[in-house]
């Protein structure tokens, strides 16, 4: 006779245990008494936006350097929105969005950069 099988009391709820390698995706929930973090986030987003604006209007740097700096500010703004408002680390089980957003960031940058590089062919001699 075959052995009876083992079932977890609530086996339906599949939460995975992936060990230390994926520790960075363990979920984390924030708890707040007053929405200070949202308010600081809002102020931060305004500061980042106007910093970029002022730098461009005043032409504080040569063009390429200026573009790099304002793009860096935009990336900072994205990080701020993700961290403050989008509750990036919240999930049941592992917060899989973290790794996929990381991958897609690399791909988006790669896509834009490589496309510009590939399509420069019309200006050069080849």
């Amino acid at each position: 006779m075959s052995q009876p099988l083992e079932f977890r009391p609530e086996a339906e709820d599949a939460v995975s245990d992936e060990g230390e390698a994926l520790r960075f995706m363990r979920p984390h929930f924030g708890e707040e008494k007053f929405p200070w973090i949202q308010i600081w986030g809002y102020i931060g987003s305004l500061v980042l936006t106007f910093a970029a604006l002022i730098m461009v209007v005043d032409h504080v740097l040569p063009p390429l350097a200026l573009l790099s700096v304002i793009l860096a500010l935009a990336v900072g703004q994205a990080a701020l929105q993700l961290g403050v408002f989008m509750h990036l680390r919240e999930s049941r089980g592992l917060a899989w969005q973290i790794i996929f957003l990381g991958m897609v960031l690399l791909m988006a940058v790669g896509m834009v950069g490589m496309s510009i590089w590939i399509m420069t062919f019309k200006s050069g001699v080849s």
């Binding site: 995975s16 949202q38 308010i39 986030g41 970029a52 604006l53 929105q81 999930s91």
Partner: protein, 206 residues
């Protein structure tokens, strides 16, 4: 397999939108949708970057753009991102009235943004800068237009959510829907910041 004990503790008092396993899976799914949407915009940004100097007989970026309306649009969208953040905060405090208030405010700010953008587009087109004119203009309109269409869709979506919350209150399902909407809205805010930087400000760097 369960998580380590300290993580299980966190699971014990998760917010309502994570309280139901099946509903929480939809949040993961929505993140993955956002991943595809990031790449939609990345493709549009690549096209814009490549088309940027293909102005043909049309106006160039620095000739076309005026920063005034764009700053207004940016302010409206950043503020709406703040208000939807407060809406989710209120939702987690189970304060339905405050939630509805912030959500409606978000919608109004979004509508203001769309109006300003449409006005902007109409101004450009009436000055002769149609997307037929040059590849640069085509790339510009499709990038900014896709974002605008996303915002418009978001407004309609949130309006239907308002009815659902009013009727059903804050359940595992309605909170999950509101939470995914907030993710969508913040995501559009991020995209707009990149448009603001890479299209409008970049157009003013000569």
């Amino acid at each position: 397999m369960s998580l380590p004990v300290e993580d299980e503790k966190i699971i014990q008092h998760v917010p309502a939108e994570f309280s139901d396993e099946k509903e929480s899976i939809k949040i993961t799914g929505f993140w993955m949708f956002l991943v595809t949407d990031v790449l939609i915009f990345a493709s549009l940004f690549s096209s814009y970057a490549v088309f940027k100097n293909q102005v043909a007989q049309g106006p160039s970026a620095s000739q076309l753009f005026t920063l005034g309306p764009v700053i207004l649009e940016t302010l409206l969208l950043l503020t709406s991102s703040f208000t939807i953040g407060l809406a989710i905060y209120a939702m987690r405090k189970e304060n339905k009235r405050a939630l509805m208030f912030w959500l409606i405010l978000t919608l109004l700010l979004g509508a203001g943004f769309v109006t300003a953008e449409v006005h902007d587009f109409v101004t450009f087109v009436s000055a002769g800068a149609t997307w037929h004119k040059s590849a640069f203009l085509s790339g510009f309109y499709i990038l900014v237009g896709t974002h605008g269409a996303h915002v418009t869709f978001g407004i309609i979506w949130a309006a239907t959510l308002l009815f659902q919350v009013a009727r059903r209150g804050l359940t595992a399902v309605t909170t999950r829907k509101l939470f995914t909407f907030s993710l969508y809205w913040h995501f559009l805010d991020i995209v707009w910041i990149f448009i603001f930087t890479f299209v409008y400000l970049n157009g003013k760097i000569v």
